[in-house]
Amino acid sequence: MQDFITKTVAAAEGQPQRLLEMLRAVQQAYGYVPPDAVEFLSAQLGLPRGEISAVVEFYGFLSSSPQGVYRIVFSDSITDRMLGNQALFRLLADLLQVQPGVVSSDGLVSLDFTSCTGLCEQGPAALVNGWPLPALTEDKIARIAGLVKQRIPLLDWPGYLFEVNDYIRQPGLLLQNPIAPGQALQAWRERGAAAVLEELEVSGLRGRGGAGFKTALKWRLCAEEAGPERVVVCNADEGEPGTFKDRVLLRLYADQVFEGMTLCAAIIGARQGFLYLRGEYLFLLEPLRQILRSRRELGLLGENISGFGFDFDIEIRLGAGAYICGEESALIESLEGKPGVPRNRPPYPVARGYLQRPTVVNNVETFLAAAAIGVYGGAWFAAAGAGRSSGTKILSISGDCARPGIYEYAFGVEMAEILRDCGTEDVLCVQVGGPSGTLIDSSELQRKLSYEDLASGGSLMVFNRGRDVLGIVQNFTHFFAHESCGFCTPCRVGSRLLQNQLDKIINGHGSAGDVAELTGIAHLLKNYSHCGLGQTAANPVLHALQRFPELYESRLKKISYEPGFDLDAALEVARRMARRDDPAAHLAQTEEEAHD
């Protein structure tokens, strides 16, 4: 093992910032991160072992206890559920004779769920040792079970199991007008940094990852910071359930995304760039590295780019299963090889980001758009869109629709038009912007896609009449509790209180006071949480409460208070031991119920 660690450390150039990469390698080789590995890493990197363990225990794809040789995790996004992932999961568990969350006794396989893997338009999906298995069916599950039982190495599994498709259904301004490699840099060279920045300003481009901060302003602020080293980071964490447009952009438009990053570097004066790629997109890593290599060969990356006398290169760093790492300051912590815990602000990343250097963090689509604006100009982009939301937005659409996939719209488009295009009927509600976004019902379809009305980082999920709204809300609420980083009190405790409280109501144990309690917890999460995760974690509960209050009410008992635990169920063990099931061996939950 020591040799392996020594090699792994050498491959990562002994940089403690690349700890996550080393731990991924250990996990891959041993099926977990054994205590010895932590010791060796600690000794070789000069990091306290506690800090290494903290990283192992933070990320979903790392574990401190052994996992199966085949580690299969099913995506548990609501869209995967709607496509039947639960039944397929049970089928595989039966075929392999393995309990969820437990390693099989022969150490061969472990089976569990994970948060949305970004394959919502081709679900139900799973990952096997990090590689995607999209569009699962009963046949495929049977095949997979056979391959596992025969211990066939992953490399020899049939390719069709791993085939990820890109469905661009409706391209617009950006997707129809790709630039050629080097074109945006040429424009920068010819017109100068100030002029390109001015075009970016004119374009009105705002961040496509969620918050909508003006891109030109962000770049300007970073350029104005003192300090010799600046950093450009592309946020490809894409963890918001229902979002998969960055996956497609990195598959088909990666060159342009890298060009956008290089343009940014040229303007702000950065030498170092990172693409932070979510661990779920491991399958994109090699193809992306290949594109980086070819850009270097073309002189578009590396030293003295295009003979313009400026040096810049991009390194890809993989995440390891943590939604919070999409939050820009948590992402930077993760880039530094630490647990993804959001930083205190101020200072903001533009002032002190990666290794305290001024850092621009932008979404994949933001860099894509910036490169196009560099070539075609700000007015070209601003001609589309409306008001303070200029240009177009690329959406990932999934759920109940005939044509799930990628759509590009000018801002200002009405929800009704989007739903017509993707082929929906009998819509009950739409989740715009993912679980942290907004739930609207069918009476709100005249509302518009824009930063001022319905914002979206790219996720749009459609639900038909007949879908269980509380079940959707429950899925989202559990997601946030699972993904809370645990740093701050309101989110660490509150997200779990909210989940338990909601479960209590959904399971039919709630009374009127319990709904009021939901809003009380929501208030604390929203107002006191440290970052956007906690601040938005109660949105699904609240939005559904506003639009479908009757659904909550229908689950309530007609009493004023109901204990959180089930008295009668608690007696089950005693009943089994005493082999009794007569009426006297059961307890009523409350006095009122006893007298019913």
């Binding site: 506690g50 225990e57 205190n344 701050c488």
Partner: protein, 238 residues
């Protein structure tokens, strides 16, 4: 001319680079807090020090003071919400004040009294948490840990040892010990370390000292955590 911020109508001077909390402490203005400790790097995790700065909620222990800030610290809304946050800390662990050696000296208990917390409000989690009594002189009672990370900072920044770290994610966040076995007995902590004394609750205790000072004569038996006397139940709500 000294620069000032305004806290609940009172002008409080500050120096450039200070946080709102530092300015308040220098002026003797109490802002409830647990993860903050004077002289330690700010952390900003417990959220008890939440104040409204020009209308926006911020943590006083991390937010830089700036000329012209109008800070609301002592409002009915903030005190009520801080009470809820404190209750969250209580239900998340296993806190049994009457049987705890730290009772009367405990900052969690004292802040709960100050915020007039009279019950847990939320359902208790009853997490199973082990006790680490492997060290001859120092005990870790994980049931009482509120993951404020003060011991982590103390050991790293003051003792220069890195005995502690916070591990896990979300609800699984917990304190770990940086020793090969993960037990305190195998670490290089000593009773002289700041880390052995900084815990605001009874999670890290020096053994054998539990009742040296009788209950009734302890720190917060004599005065409340904001420094005010117990007698007369002085109102602290606006």
């Amino acid at each position: 001319m000294t620069k000032c911020i305004n806290i609940d109508g009172v002008n409080v001077p500050f120096e450039e680079g200070q946080t709102i909390m530092q300015a308040a402490e220098n002026a003797g203005v109490y802002i409830p807090h647990l993860c903050h400790h004077a002289g330690y790097a700010p952390h900003g995790s417990c959220k008890l020090c939440s104040v409204r700065v020009n209308g926006r909620v911020c943590t006083a222990c991390t937010f830089p003071a700036a000329e012209g800030q109008s800070v609301i610290n002592n409002s009915r809304e903030l005190q009520a919400d801080r009470r809820r946050l404190t209750q969250m800390l209580f239900v998340e662990g296993n806190h049994n004040c009457p049987s705890c050696e730290k009772s009367g000296d405990c900052r969690l208990q004292a802040v709960a009294y100050y915020l007039r917390m009279e019950d847990d409000h939320f359902p208790l989690f009853y997490p199973p948490r082990p006790l680490d009594s492997s060290h001859p002189d120092i005990l870790i009672e994980h049931n009482r840990c509120i993951v404020c990370s003060l011991c982590v900072r103390a050991s790293r920044d003051i003792d220069g040892k890195n005995v502690f770290a916070v591990s896990g994610r979300g609800a699984h966040k917990h304190l770990i010990v940086n020793s090969p076995s993960g037990r305190l007995g195998d670490s290089d902590i000593s009773t002289d370390d700041a880390a052995a004394h900084i815990c605001p609750t009874g999670a890290i205790l020096i053994k054998g000292q539990a009742f040296h000072r009788p209950i009734g004569q302890r720190l917060y038996d004599l005065e409340r955590i904001d420094g005010s006397p117990h007698a007369g139940e002085a109102s602290h709500e606006a």
